[in-house]
Symmetry: none
Subunit: 206 residues, 2 copies
Amino acid sequence: MGRKKVEIKRIEDKSSRQVTFSKRRKGLLKKAKELSILCDADVAVVVFSNRDRIYDFSSTNSLTEIVHRYHSHVEAEKESSAEVLDTEHSKYASFMTVGQLLQTVGRQLEEPAVDDLSVTDLVHLENQLPTALMQVRSSKTHLMIESIKSLREKEKLLSEENKHLENKIATTKNKREVKNEMALDFTNLAPASMNCQQQKTTLNFL
Amino acid sequence: MGRKKVEIKRIEDKSSRQVTFSKRRKGLLKKAKELSILCDADVAVVVFSNRDRIYDFSSTNSLTEIVHRYHSHVEAEKESSAEVLDTEHSKYASFMTVGQLLQTVGRQLEEPAVDDLSVTDLVHLENQLPTALMQVRSSKTHLMIESIKSLREKEKLLSEENKHLENKIATTKNKREVKNEMALDFTNLAPASMNCQQQKTTLNFL
DNA sequence: TTAACTATATATAAAGT
DNA sequence: TACTTTATATATAGTTA
């Protein structure tokens, strides 16, 4: 994207790092803005320079809002069995005070159309049902959590594999370049046997 | 940046908006990554699609960390406005333990002086709470489902990237083999070709 | 749909001032 | 030190399979 292709690794020269930072930061924020407008999506970008200056873009008024949404997602992913209840409570606590809760709630009780049963029977039922419900809920939550865990695990593995593959490619490229140069040098004097040897060395890195 | 210049305004056609979203989102995240590496800066990007799927990049482990730094800055710059207080409140609310929550509830209940409540009032409360609970559960389930969706999406993307990388490597290998063959032809006249042949066979298993 | 494929627009690295 | 210019690398819009 410039006169020369640059490797993606930390720029050591301080001054050109600064220049690149400035240019690319500007570009990044511009693209974030475009994405949010073109696709009607909420986008937030935060950049800290090494010298701790901050630059940001947010398609909504406040980054905070987006952060909230982000947290909702993350929290949902984070829960692990024992903590579920705690997390749940606190999560919703931040969105609804108890007062609001009580006010906001709509009534949805229906007539219990079971007048044939004795009070004793009903009491018994009343006691049993919540337990059953809890078991069902517990199973459901458990399954979902397991699902999430396993997905995250997969994600991690895939990421690692990806990284490896990238390294492999990088290595191959480098070796290849070296090899090409060597091959050029050698084909003039000795024939292909050298080529093979070189090849062999290279191969170990595949 | 394509066949035609596009105006930066909401893309009305749903399908091409989706396509553009996918392309540009990928681009944005890539650039964010490059910026963070090249310039050794902390960068975070969060993108929400219309349909509330989340995509993010963060140069540090957690977006949360960056958000914290962001908050420090913002608070330092803007004097403590009312908004900040709200932010703070909700931030900490999300970390409230169940114990704290119960205390809060207690306080709220003290106002109407619980002892003075009539049976009717209590029945009303009793009826409302389950509904509130249901809402909470519903939200929870929704979030978890979204979470799973989003993870599946990520998994898919990673898999695709992986596939690409593998193809790349395969291609590289092919080129290499072609080279080997050429080398073989070349050495038909000279010795040391066995070496090469062996090497070639080995190659396929790498 | 989703995936490749160009032709073109953009971003930007290095050079110039 | 920071603009401006240019050559080149990248991103991507529209197209096609």
